[in-house]
Symmetry: C2
């Protein structure tokens, strides 16, 4: 199908065309990259209207159940919801999270929802770039709430926070000792914290966890003077508290939309994305250079064991690269 036709069909919200378009931006074949570029250029004017929400949480926190309940609630408010994922560990298997069809069964059957597993890939940078592009495509297809999900494995949270308007961290209803397992750097990324599983035997633990997290967070400097990171609780299983979370997101959009913070964040994300692409391309070309490859591991070892200064090792490799 010519790219102009594909673009037109994506804009009508055609799910097959959208899936095909995402497959195209996920491809690493050079001719596909060129077509993907043309497709994105054609659709770019129709992107940017969605609210972009990142969601992360450690395994077992009930992420799928939460996204299903949240997605269905948002659809009930008249929105269309797309769920994308970032999982650099999925390698070539085609995505380990969201790959399983039994997850989010209700949501995946809803006509107003579009769910796409993580693209396969070996580097986080590559996976993140393709997810950013998929985000533009689902927006162009009329999905006005875009959720980017990630597993809680460190770096991927930063990648997600760097592509969304709001980063929501889902935490388990555990207090005290178990809190220690959560990386501080991740908490710092959060624009909203939600303690899930506030139900049954865990209701009490969830209340304590909210208080503990509130205390821990009071020790941090807020990233934005106009936004105090709220700590909410919910039971995704019993569908309790989901409405307050969506309301909180609405507040966030009003306050940080009005003061220009979201527009600024998006402009900065776009520039950072451009520079990341440049840096990755430059270092990829460097690492692929035959003259560099011939000496790289030897010089890396020499720098590590101090038989050469890191500066001298770098200069030697850069000379090889320049004079190839």
């Amino acid at each position: 199908m010519p790219i102009a036709d594909l673009a037109a069909r994506v804009r009508t919200g055609d799910r097959r065309a959208l899936a095909q378009a995402i497959t195209l931006v996920e491809s690493t074949r050079p001719d596909h990259r060129e077509q993907a570029e043309a497709l994105l250029a054609a659709l770019l004017p129709h992107t940017g209207k969605g609210v972009r929400i990142g969601i992360s949480g450690v395994p077992g926190v009930g992420k799928s159940t939460f996204i299903e309940a949240f997605g269905l609630h948002v659809i009930g408010q008249g929105h269309k919801v797309a769920v994308l994922a970032i999982d650099p560990t999925s390698q070539r298997t085609g995505g380990s999270i969201l790959g399983d069809k039994t997850r989010m069964e209700m949501l995946s059957r809803d006509i107003s929802a579009f769910i796409r597993p993580s693209p396969a890939g070996t580097t986080l940078g590559g996976v993140a770039r393709r997810t950013r592009e998929a985000m533009l495509l689902v927006e162009a297809a009329g999905f006005d709430v875009v959720i980017v999900e990630t597993v809680g494995v460190g770096q991927s949270e930063t990648a997600v926070a760097d592509m969304v308007d709001l980063f929501l961290l889902l935490l388990p209803p555990a207090g005290g000792d178990e809190l220690q397992g959560i990386k501080k750097g991740i908490v710092e990324l959060a624009d909203m914290i939600v303690v899930n599983k506030a139900d049954g035997d865990l209701a009490n633990a969830a209340r304590h966890a909210v208080a503990e997290y509130r205390h821990a967070l009071s020790l941090l400097r807020p990233a934005n003077a106009n936004w105090r990171v709220p700590i909410l609780s919910c039971s995704a299983l019993n569908n309790l508290g989901i409405d307050s979370i969506w309301d909180g997101i609405g507040q966030y959009r009003r306050i940080l939309g009005d003061d220009g913070s979201i527009a600024k964040r998006r402009a900065e994300q776009a520039q950072a994305w451009m520079w990341n692409e440049i840096r990755e391309s430059l270092i990829t070309a460097f690492q692929a250079d035959p003259a560099v490859r011939a000496e790289l591991s030897g010089l890396e070892r020499a720098a590590a064991d101090s038989s050469v200064t890191p500066g001298a090792a770098a200069r030697r490799l850069l000379d090889l690269f320049r004079h190839r």
Copy 2:
């Protein structure tokens, strides 16, 4: 002076030769860079024996008083102490911190101490590289305790933590609300936390601050299973508690020396340093390219206002760079 002679004089601990050698590695002139490279290569086998300590703290925490008291104590134990600084904000003024001669007056007059202000520079990367190289030079000159000081301005703490064996964070004796001003990311870098000014009217506040910090830190996952970040207090003014800090550093060196952590950290630092140099050189060459410069700001703006995808902007600039 020929480089071999300069190297030999540095090794004897000659302070003038050392100062001259540091000036050489700080120079950006290409012929100086080459000489600096030769000097570092000659001295490299005689480096690495020092304990490398990073010290940071917000303005007003009493950093100079602390370093003076600490340095004199360490000299009293038979060591030779070098104090270097990183301050990327010093620009061309020749270093705003440590530039002032009235700071650390006693320490600066001590024959066993060597104090060097921050190199001038506009980028943190450049300032950090020159400080890393100066660190090798002072080690070769026989200084076995190297302190790298930085002002508390965010990124520079990471640069310091990435070049030392132990990062010591100096905190004010403030509890509750004032704690909020301290960036979480910085606390996370610390291998040791010291509350200063535990004297006079502030002694009580310092005690509370230690308890508060301990609680806050108990919520974090330790970076190294064998090392629980200690939170100590001292009065640099009254010279109280300085000995415990030096003892704590000794413990740190024993425990993380025995389990190989310090050697591993140094090897990783050297490799990261090499890659940083490579990345910086590549991006510098890219940014200096005339074809890139002609279109850069236009494409950066276009990416920020979404009139072009960041990926397409990057690709356009990379094409200009490759086909120059």
